[in-house]
């Protein structure tokens, strides 16, 4: 199994996000990478609002941020797959995101099996200790030449 250094990880992650049209459309930005943990920001935007009377960001947009952040955590794992796709993603919305605040997701790929990666994530808006949302997800693991 190959391991990769932090600089290479950052490059992979930056390329990964830049290559995803929907991540670009949402304005997602890489915040940090460490080990198998990835942090990603979604700046507040009015066109992403899901509750017009309150200005709260749509759950779907938070899901898309979480999915992208989780996928990146899989790809920067010390034993990275050559490719990955979401198998299953469950999101719990604990409270509405504060209107006007950016949302930062933090995803950890806590187990890399041969064919499946297991990821959990939380999303914060910087207000209080309770996350806006939490995620549990599984991703496919593609191994080069493993077919």
């Amino acid at each position: 199994m190959s391991t990769i250094d932090d600089e290479r990880k950052r490059k992979i992650a930056a390329q990964f996000i830049a290559a995803l049209p929907y991540a670009r459309a949402l304005g997602l930005e890489l915040v940090s990478l460490a080990g198998q943990v990835c942090e990603m920001r979604m700046p507040y935007r009015e066109d992403l609002v899901g509750q017009p009377e309150t200005g709260v960001i749509a759950g779907g947009a938070v899901s898309a941020l979480m999915d992208t952040c989780c996928g990146t955590a899989v790809l920067i794992h010390p034993e990275p797959p050559s490719g990955t796709a979401t198998l299953d993603l469950r999101i719990d919305y604990m409270r509405p995101a504060t209107p006007g605040k950016d949302i930062v997701a933090r995803a950890e790929c806590y187990h890399m099996a041969h064919s499946v990666a297991f990821v959990r994530a939380t999303a914060h808006d910087g207000e209080g200790d309770t996350p806006v949302a939490s995620v549990a997800a599984t991703f496919t693991v593609e191994r080069r030449g493993a077919r």
Binding site: A19, L20, P21, Y22, A23, R24, A25, L26, E46, D47, L48, V49, G50, Q51, P52, E53, I57, A58, G59, G60, A61, S63, A64, L65, M66, D67, T68, G71, G83, A85, T86, L87, D88, L89, R90, I91, D92, Y93, P96
Partner: protein, 167 residues
């Protein structure tokens, strides 16, 4: 026996109500999602656009775009059923229900099952409300593209229903 309403009056009422429901949500407009109606049955349509892609190599729809599409389908189906009841049941018929932008249910949790890669073409979804109580609802959504029987994703979610001022 009362004369039935002219069909154009009925259609206009229902179409206006649906349009008002969908037009008010910025994220639905951002994604370009539309709703087709046959009686009370809704089909959500996600017209293909390049910005919806997640994996440019395949290419495939972004998992987050798929999740958003299915969640919006579920939320609008739930709201539509509430609206339909206010608008169409003879004892409750409320002319203001059409003009009012209804408060949307809040998602508690949402689980997406990705069955195959979303192709770079239009996607469709239909939501089924399995249980709708005064406070909570459970909804299942199916998403497909070319073949109705070959789902590319399905989802189940729980929703907190808005408090209804009329009650």
């Amino acid at each position: 026996m009362k004369r039935p309403e002219p069909v154009q009056v009925v259609k206009q009422r229902r179409d206006t109500a649906l349009r008002n429901l969908v037009a008010g949500v910025p994220y639905i407009q951002f994604m370009g999602i539309q709703f087709e109606r046959r009686g009370d049955e809704l089909t959500a349509v996600l017209p293909y656009r390049d910005q919806l892609i997640g994996n440019p190599m395949l290419p495939a729809l972004h998992g987050g775009a798929t999740a958003s599409f299915l969640e919006i389908s579920a939320v609008i189906e739930l709201s539509w059923q509430m609206l339909w009841e206010d608008m169409e049941s003879p004892e409750k018929r409320d002319p203001d229900a059409i003009a009012r932008v209804p408060r949307l249910p809040k998602t508690i949790d949402f689980t997406v099952d990705y069955l195959r890669a979303g192709l770079p073409r239009d996607a469709y979804a239909r939501a089924r409300v399995n249980r709708s109580g005064r406070r909570y609802a459970s909804v299942h959504v199916e998403g497909w593209q070319d073949n109705r029987s070959r789902l590319f994703a399905q989802a189940t979610g729980h929703f907190l229903m808005p408090t209804r001022d009329a009650d």
